[in-house]
């Protein structure tokens, strides 16, 4: 058999497992084409995208439980990536549905076809990223993800702050991906391979120079940290989150962050993977270099800065942006331990975080539709003016704080369990203190909504609610938030099964 033939065979065998990604690309193309053809119907791209992604979901369910390396080790399909892919799909579909009722987006008779197709493009990038095990695929998928995000962040281009957000996002993004690609070149230089598994073999063999590997790893960490918006790589986050359309903000805060974590965990896990017999902490593969401490410091910085800066915010969108930084910090706590329990807790947390964070942003969006503002001071009295939405918002905020009986509590409980399991009591205590701080600013929102009432004479005293369809979505999310606080075994089992590859 010639090399070409074996290559072709490999390709043919891989394509079947690559079907979900292919479905996404098809959706992307069809959405753009139909948008051009049917100019009259505004939302056709949205409907096609949603249907396409649902079909992708069905195709993806064929990959459940499969572990396979595709395209000569460029990407893999395994339960871990499949878990994240479902997360991305659900988030994207929810965001699309939410965008349909977003006033700012439809202002000025804007064309929205590209908006929805770009979301499909991001999804493609994230799918690849969750599967990537080769430095090239990692870099390319991050770029696919980023480019679409830059466009979407500035989609409402006549709004000054959106354009500014987009520009800042591009500049910070290119800087960090530049650093990352430089780090990758160092890894390649030291080991002469792009395959993460082979780099791992090279490290374990002990015949490589460790210095470039450490520096390279740190530089790659910058790129991932940027996607996860971990402090100190978070500077773009508040400005972009505040400036971008709120749907995109919530999308970036959930999906893009999850993608960053997915690749971060897989990359370092694979890079420093040890032979199965060894029970040394994986972070100690390279002796004399304390990765664990670095991640722990990153985690503490991320949650502390996120929470403390959130305290001073007067804009709900910006406040939620900082809160999402803080949540990245909580999740990083579980990365520190890097055990299966820890990674399970991360997966679990992301499911819950998706629900509650999307919910909070969505209600903020529904408020903004009516009162035209995201300012905390304009939330005063909303509990009286729009009781239903305000109660839903409170449910999400309580969950974000991590109070029972909500999903957020369960997520935090599992993260703390993972952290304490490895004896990191100090880290857990810092996490706990941070939760207290977070209570302060989350409470500020529902305090303004319920405990303060507006003066009766202002013109802004009309009562309102949301249209039935968006409202029902918010209801579903709130219901899920409480339900998963009480019954979460299926998700837990799913998450546990998804980390089996990390033995």
């Amino acid at each position: 058999m010639t090399i070409t033939q074996s290559y072709l065979n490999n390709l043919m065998a891989s394509v079947g497992y690559f079907a979900p990604e292919i479905a996404i690309v098809v959706t992307f193309i069809v959405a753009i084409l139909f948008d051009l053809m049917f100019k009259k119907s505004k939302n056709i791209a949205a409907y096609i995208s949603i249907i396409g992604l649902i079909i992708t979901g069905f195709i993806l369910s064929g990959n459940i439980g499969i572990s396979k390396s595709l395209f000569d080790g460029l990407i893999v399909v395994d339960p871990y990536s499949t878990f994240f892919k479902f997360l991305f799909l659900i988030t994207t579909i929810l965001i699309m549905v939410m965008s349909l009722s977003y006033k700012e987006l439809y202002d000025n008779n804007r064309k929205v076809g590209e908006y929805y197709s770009m979301l499909v493009g991001i999804t493609f990038g994230m799918f690849l990223l969750a599967s990537a095990v080769n430095l090239i695929t990692i870099y390319l998928s991050i770029e696919i993800l980023s480019l679409s995000s830059y466009v979407l962040a500035g989609y409402t281009k006549e709004i000054r702050r959106a354009s500014e957000a987009s520009l800042k996002y591009v500049i910070y993004g290119s800087l960090s991906s530049g650093i990352m690609v430089y780090g990758m070149s160092l890894l390649y230089g030291a080991t002469m391979t792009l395959d993460v598994a082979k780099i791992n073999v090279a490290i374990l063999s002990g015949h490589v120079e460790l210095f470039p590997i450490i520096i390279g790893g740190l530089m790659i960490l910058v790129g991932f940290g940027y996607k996860m918006s971990a402090v100190p790589f978070h500077y773009w986050t508040p400005d972009v989150y505040e400036g971008a359309p709120i749907t995109i903000t919530s999308y970036l805060s959930v999906a893009s962050k999850a993608a960053g974590f997915a690749v971060f965990i897989r990359f370092f896990k694979d890079l420093y993977l040890l032979p199965a017999t060894s029970d040394i902490n994986i972070w100690n593969t390279i002796s004399n270099f304390h990765w664990q401490t670095i991640v722990a410091v990153l985690s503490v910085l991320t949650m502390t800065v996120g929470n403390f800066v959130a305290l001073w915010q007067e804009n709900v969108k910006r406040l939620l942006a900082y809160s999402s930084i803080a949540h990245a910090g909580y999740i990083l706590m579980a990365v520190v331990v890097m055990t299966n329990v820890g990674i399970t807790s991360i997966l679990l947390y992301f499911v819950f975080y998706m629900i509650m964070n999307l919910g909070a942003f969505f209600v903020a969006q529904l408020f903004a539709n009516k009162i035209g503002s995201d300012d905390l001071k304009d939330y005063i009295g909303l509990g009286y003016r729009s009781p239903v939405l305000a109660v839903l918002m409170t449910v999400f905020l309580i969950s974000l704080t991590g109070l029972p009986p909500t999903a957020g509590f369960i997520g935090k409980f599992y993260i703390f369990t993972a952290v304490l399991d490895k004896g990191f009591v100090w880290l857990a205590v810092i996490g706990v203190l941070n939760s207290v701080v977070s209570l302060f600013y989350y409470a500020k929102i529902f305090r303004n909504m319920f405990l303060r009432s507006v003066a009766d004479d202002t013109k802004n005293n009309f009562k309102f609610s949301a249209p039935a369809f968006p409202l029902s979505i918010a209801y579903v999310l709130a219901f899920a938030t409480i339900l998963f606080g009480l019954y979460f075994s299926p998700i837990l089992n799913w998450a546990e099964n998804s980390v089996t590859m990390f033995k």
Binding site: L403, T417, L420, V432, S435, V436, A443
Partner: protein
């Protein structure tokens, strides 16, 4: 078993039903809430009548698996100590609801929803026998209480409710870390069966945890409970929360929420971390005594009646903590009775303050004077509540304080008379500030014209005050009705404590029907081994 489930879940179901009621139909909501809580009370009486006083263990135990990977379950049950407190909840709740019929005039639907939700969570706290479940109920209390103070409270309610929320939350999150650490350590290191939150399992072996770890765990739990009690110097949230809360909120706060802390101390700190409790008993007793005296002194200089009552709580709860950490059967018995007493007498004082506040919209002592002539019935009720709080023999307060002081006096663990002597000055101070306040409000001449037309008690007010008076007198005259219920459970706990400390079993008759002996031997061996 079934009565316990109904007692726990009926308030929750009723609160959810209220959500579907029409907001305008206030009358329906009010009476529905009242009737639901009365039914809960009647059903909880079955718990009392079917309870076997001679059995010191958990009764009505229900164990349903919930999260198998955490070994967390819906485990509830009652022993003699928690039964009395659950009865207190089901008794006080209808009274608190009835008392808010006139005073709550805005957003009634949300209010009664919150009250019932609160009742559900409170019963949950006192029945949960699973650390995970306990924590959920413990935190669930916060949300309704936050809104009850924050929406229906007084002028300064925002400050008070945020302070209350933050204080409680800080404590309870440390407890969360401790719960996880404990579950992990007990499950993986001692039992080797995996993470667990099963209260009964942990209780059997928790004292095997080395003392230095135990100390940390002890304080992580204790801080959270001390904030709730509140023990001096963590009490600063209490006067604010009490003063700003609506009457029913204050009543529930005083009567039940504060007891969550003292109950937790017995249930978790003493039962789990017996060695650490013994080691820290003197230190905590010192703070309890300081709290007793400090609370009384600060109460004496208050100009606001409600604030005075609030500070008196700090003082009274000091007796409870002292009783608990005397670690004698009499002291703990006294603490439990004192918890019930404080619920009745302070609850009643808050109700009475609420009654006069509704009529005059002020609580300043200087605004009143000579009220006894205008409202003789009111003055009589106030006198009963006050004497109960002072600890007049023949009324309930005396029994509790007397038992806790005896406990502190005879305690082999505190081993000093000083605590009891210093604490008993608190009784004297209590007489001073309460009688002085009573004199200024009720006696003398009516020199404020706006007091001239005050109406005496209405039928509704009679209806919720008389039941409390009955129990105040009953406990005062025949305390053994109540002490019998908690006696054996307390003794079993003291058996365990004295076994750890001195290797003796003061109440051997309880050993017949329990497996205490084997466990305590294990504990002893472990102690000697170190």
């Amino acid at each position: 078993m079934i009565p316990l489930i109904i007692t726990l879940l009926l308030p929750l179901i009723s609160s959810l039903l209220i959500l579907f009621m029409n907001k305008e139909n206030v009358k329906l909501i009010k009476y529905f809430t009242l009737i639901s809580s009365l039914i809960t009370f009647l059903i909880s009486l079955f718990l009392l009548f079917n309870f076997n006083n001679t059995n010191p263990d958990i009764q009505y135990y229900i164990n349903v698996t919930w999260v198998s990977s955490l070994d967390a379950g819906f485990r509830i049950g009652l022993d003699g100590m928690s039964l009395l407190l659950v009865m207190l909840i089901t008794f006080i709740s209808p009274i608190a609801i009835l008392s808010s019929f006139d005073s709550i005039k805005t957003r009634e639907k949300e209010y009664y929803f919150m009250i019932l939700l609160l009742q559900f969570a409170m019963v949950g706290v006192f029945t949960a026998l699973d650390t995970f479940l306990f924590y959920i109920f413990w935190e669930l209390i916060l949300i309704p209480m936050y809104f009850i103070i924050g929406i229906w409270g007084g002028k300064n309610r925002l400050y008070a409710t945020v302070k209350f929320f933050i204080f409680t939350m800080v404590g309870s999150l440390f407890m969360l870390v401790a719960i996880i650490w404990l579950g992990n350590y007990v499950g993986n290191e001692i039992l080797k069966t995996g993470f667990t939150t099963d209260y009964l399992k942990i209780k059997e072996v928790a004292n095997l945890i080395p003392l230095n770890y135990q100390n940390w765990l002890f304080w992580a739990f204790a801080i959270s409970f001390f904030i709730k009690v509140p023990l001096f110097p963590l009490h600063t949230w209490l006067p604010d929360a009490h003063t700003e809360a609506p009457t029913a909120g204050s009543v529930i706060l005083a009567a039940i929420l504060l007891k969550m802390g003292t109950y937790g101390l017995i249930r978790f700190n003493l039962e789990f971390f017996t060695s650490a409790s013994i080691a820290n008993a003197s230190l905590i007793s010192i703070f309890a005594v300081i709290g007793i005296i400090y609370g009384a002194l600060v109460a004496a200089i208050q100009t606001d009646i409600k604030k005075l009552v609030a500070y008196s709580s700090v003082s009274h709860l000091g007796f409870v903590v002292l009783g608990i950490f005397s670690m004698t059967a009499i002291g703990i018995q006294g603490a439990i009775i004192q918890m019930v007493n404080h619920g009745l007498s302070t609850g009643m004082l808050f109700l009475l303050v609420g009654i006069i506040y509704e009529r005059r919209h002020t609580r300043e002592i200087s605004e009143y004077g000579g009220i006894a002539r205008i409202m003789p019935v009111y003055a009589t009720f106030f006198a009963i509540a006050m004497f109960s709080s002072v600890g007049l023999p023949g009324l309930n307060g005396f029994v509790g304080e007397y038992l806790t002081l005896i406990g502190a006096f005879t305690s082999p663990i505190l081993n000093s008379w000083g605590y009891a002597i210093a604490a008993s000055t608190g009784v004297i101070f209590a007489a001073v500030y309460l009688l002085w306040m009573y004199q200024r409000v009720f006696f003398g001449t009516v020199d404020n014209p706006s007091n001239l037309n005050l109406k005496d008690l209405s039928k509704r007010e009679w209806a919720f005050l008389v039941p409390i008076v009955i129990f105040i007198v009953w406990i005062g005259l025949h305390p053994s009705t109540f002490t019998n219920i908690s006696e054996n459970s307390t003794r079993k706990l003291v058996n365990k404590i004295e076994n750890v400390k001195f290797g003796i079993t003061p109440y051997p008759e309880l050993l017949k029907n329990s497996n205490l002996k084997t466990n305590s031997n294990q504990i002893n061996n472990n102690k000697i081994g170190k």
